[in-house]
Amino acid sequence: MKVSYYPGCSLESTASDYNASIQALTGMLGIELSEVEDWNCCGSTSAHSLSPELSLVLSARNVVRAEAAGRDLIVPCSLCFNRLKTAEKALRQGTVSEYNFSGSIQVRDILEFFSSSEVLDRFVDMINKPLRGLKALCYYGCQGNRPPQIIGRTDCENPMDMDRLVEACGATAVDWPFKTDCCGASHAVARQDVVYELVGRLFDRAVAQGADCFVVSCQMCQANLDMYQEKISQARGQKYQIPVFYFTELMGLALGHPDVSKWLSRHFVDPSPLLNQLELL
């Protein structure tokens, strides 16, 4: 199976661990990722905030380049996915005059791709280390699901893709009501206080549900929940210690990939005590 891949800027830096786990996992599953040649930044929240037109053309360039390569485009960052999917829709409607797009490929969210039967069936056959005993909260965030008018999903209020994946890994997906709430990603620099409140609510709920860890598919969510966890603990007078895994890391763990410890060593909240306790490392 061959697909195009748009890593996005943060997978080259803050989320290099996510990138490594994706590359390793696709290698094991026999999926060939080919990076969109000379891709550019999608403009993120900043572009659509100050110039929706700029946001559209920045994203459209990547979609058109992926079409030239002739394969569906897989996007790990939920924010990039949302922008690229918006551009795909506009290109299909012919409202981006700078580019021609015949509509032969689709922009796909990496979580949706990995939980589709074509990939999941392969994965399940290869599991050699089920993650028994791990109680995980699947945290989807906003941009991978909404708005349904663009993303085209009917389950955006209660997505289950990640829950199914986590259960397939042998872990328990703990049900909870905040799975698609916002972590405030775009305000992490300018209004940290807002992010601390939004993420603090998620932590409180995680504790109340008795979960061991979060599982995410978006590196902005991962950064907000993992990198700032100590600060948020201080700000709220609590001691949170909740590891935040990428779903690809859990899949790698279930397949016994040798590099899992390397990916996890890049986390701020060390998951190894939890995994050792459950004898999963």
Partner: protein
């Protein structure tokens, strides 16, 4: 949250017409059910709730919107438009209003939020991809936080930890098609 309601003697529809024509968002379809605001995660920090923003457009209260924090604090999580029975694209409306401010209609009520967006776009314009290190440096200098020892120390410690964990890139990546990206900026950004 602002609770006092303005005294309206005569409704000026010109702003509503301007917004609907320019943005193609059907703001007048709102019947004030407040579903948008009940689901909005950011209301705790906003000065007006999303339903009020929509209402103010309908009432022509442009100045209130231009001066509001809400348009900058919306995180574009799209919960509101997902639940709106009239499919009013409120995040797009927030962007449209931000655009009004940033192209000269007033001063952003959340200066640092606007500054962050500008510094982000500068970085994309310079390299074709965002370079987080440079973006943070520019933001710290222009927001005045470079001269606040505690902020500098906080960011330096975070940066050091990120570097040790291999999560900080030290040099930007410049794409080959940078001139194409810069043309997009010339055409679509101020």
């Amino acid at each position: 949250m602002e609770t006092s309601e303005p005294v309206i003697k005569e409704i000026d529809l010109s702003f509503l017409n301007e917004v609907e024509n320019e943005s193609q968002i059907k703001v007048s379809a709102c019947f004030q059910c407040r579903k948008c605001s009940n689901g909005c995660p950011m209301t705790f920090a906003m000065d007006y709730h999303p339903y009020q923003v929509v209402r103010f457009v309908n009432l022509g209260l442009k100045e209130r919107l231009i001066d509001s924090k809400t348009i900058w604090l919306c995180s574009s999580c799209h919960t509101c438009v997902t639940r709106c029975p009239n499919e009013i694209d409120i995040p797009k409306l927030m962007d449209y209003l931000k655009g009004k401010v940033s192209t000269g209609a007033g001063q952003a009520a959340e200066k640092n939020v606007e500054l962050f967006h500008r510094e982000f776009l500068k970085s994309v314009k310079a390299h074709g991809r965002v370079f987080e290190g440079g973006l943070m440096r520019g933001y710290m200098i222009r927001s005045g936080q470079m001269w606040q020892p505690r902020k500098v120390m906080d960011n330096a410690l975070l940066g050091l930890k990120m570097f040790k964990k291999g999560r900080l890139k030290l040099t930007p990546t410049r794409i080959k098609g940078l001139n194409k990206v810069q043309k997009m900026f010339q055409r679509h950004w101020q």
